[in-house]
Symmetry: C2
């Protein structure tokens, strides 16, 4: 038996592209799983999904400043690069390349990190409206980015779509895998790929859950044992709503109210709870076509998101 495969670590974007092109020249198809690191089993399940579709695999590990607002905690975002590599080596078949760039918004023009550039002091990328040579190009999926998580994080999906475009142009994958836990993100990337004619197949991978049903998330470690127990109300009430719909309860408002009550009774604070069309993410009043029930709720200081698809 072969030992665990150690991935090649690439930090330079040109070297990354050259690697991909050399693989393509050998007739190999390339899979990409973009991450911000601090990997858990949910990320590894994306890689397992990727293994079904392509022959070689790239995992990117890059905390993208472009998707953080100045008031969000970019500087304290957790990381554990060595632990990530070990986890990736544990996946059957492993991963060929870990792409781990230092700064994808530094264009080598001395324009980053000063007042003329696109990066402010705290590392948050901003569009400088009135001067400078910093980063200023943004990809927006203008309708899908607005609802659900986009309401409380207005520049989040602009940052996500832009960094994914950059990663696509650097890695040039045939397939990219995104988790359906971030349902809106997955739909936004899928729409972006269609609208901008990227030749990349986007795979949505099912939510990985703990044994008790909690959706896996880097944030789960911040939950106290008590909060963690209470947070199970999210998945439990979503599952009940799906079962009720299966029994003919098709009124969205009633289903939503039941879920909100359950989560609030458990001590959660609702950010949003919506039943939306799976494709357009538009709210629906009655479930007559495939929908997804999306929820975001706070337990203590931790904001959790989850969702469940209902075929309608």
């Amino acid at each position: 038996m072969e030992g665990p495969k150690e991935p090649k670590i690439i930090t330079d974007k040109n070297e990354m592209r050259e690697w991909s092109r050399s693989m393509r020249a050998q007739g190999k198809t390339i899979g990409l799983v973009p991450t911000m690191g601090f990997l858990h089993q949910g990320h590894l399940s994306l890689l397992e999904e990727a293994h079904k579709h392509t022959q070689v695999f790239v995992v990117s590990i890059y905390v993208n400043p472009g998707q953080f607002s100045p008031n969000e905690d970019l500087s304290t975002y957790p990381s554990d690069f060595n632990g990530d590599i070990k986890k990736l080596m544990s996946v059957p078949g492993g991963v060929d390349v870990v792409f781990h760039p230092h700064n994808l918004y530094d264009y080598g023009m001395g324009s980053v990190g000063n007042s003329e550039g696109g990066i402010e002091r705290d590392g948050v990328v901003s569009c400088v409206e009135d001067g400078g040579l910093g980063h200023e190009t943004w990809v927006r999926v203008e309708r899908l980015e607005k609802g659900l998580c986009g309401k409380s994080r207005p520049i989040f999906f602009r940052g996500v779509a832009t960094i994914v475009t950059k990663l696509f142009n650097i890695v040039e994958p045939d397939v990219a895998v995104f988790g359906k836990k971030d349902y809106q993100q997955w739909r936004i990337i899928t729409r972006m790929v269609r609208d901008l004619d990227f030749s990349i197949k986007i795979i949505g991978s099912d939510i990985a859950r703990e044994k008790d049903g909690l959706a896996m998330s880097s944030r789960n470690v911040h939950l106290s044992p008590d909060e963690r127990e209470k947070a199970l109300s999210i998945n439990r009430s979503l599952s009940k709503a799906k079962a009720a719909a299966g029994m003919g309860q098709m009124n969205s408002r009633d289903l939503i109210n039941t879920v909100i009550e359950s989560v609030q009774e458990a001590g959660g604070k609702i950010d949003y709870a919506e039943i939306v069309d799976q494709e357009s993410l538009k709210a629906v009043e009655k479930i007559t076509s495939p929908v997804v029930f999306c929820i975001a709720a706070w337990f203590g200081k931790v904001r959790l998101i989850d969702n469940i698809e209902i075929s309608g």
Copy 2:
């Protein structure tokens, strides 16, 4: 001697990409010249420029609805496809492919052309904010798109950056050539390519001029003989301004005023006249580094643009 080379005409975007990939697999580099058709000598000079850089050549002919406002005349934009092909065949070395898609915003989902889609009745693409499955992804170069032509045409460069992204993802060229007559467009595309990590070299090609100095434009045919004579004031006064700067006259305001007076005396109506940094397109008060003097002016019903680089 070989006769003129007849280009292969491709209308399907997947066929276009397959052609490019087959060329790349043969080790050939690919040049792209994006146009909206109704070609003149200025376009052909872009192709001649492309011939210096790559081995095979694609000219796209596509009138992009995404860059027209509802009040602009998309429906009457001139076209002469057969004439264009003849002109392309006259260029030494010719062109390998003419990419001539029907509609790059139709994603085959029945979502275009109805109220739910991204295309309105008059064919203008709009971002539908509150519904539908139509096109909704836009690339914006947020600072560079604002000044000069962006002032009077606020969605123009959004449409340009988006269609060029689409064409890049379909044709996958190594080099793309843009005319420096559309100076702002060239700078925007160059910045976009940098910011989004496209692996494409952008070439700015010098302005092609008539013998009397008038910058070549599809719009020149709409000028009356009298207007055409008067329009020569644009290039003449720009050249004088450059000469004055070469003699030490470095105050932008003075140079601009002289040009405005000359063009107005000739009967032109100024849209804008600005001296800006060649890279950032920010207005400069004193010429101490490379600048470009950009002007847009109306002669009768025809809006002409022109510019001249001044090394500073």
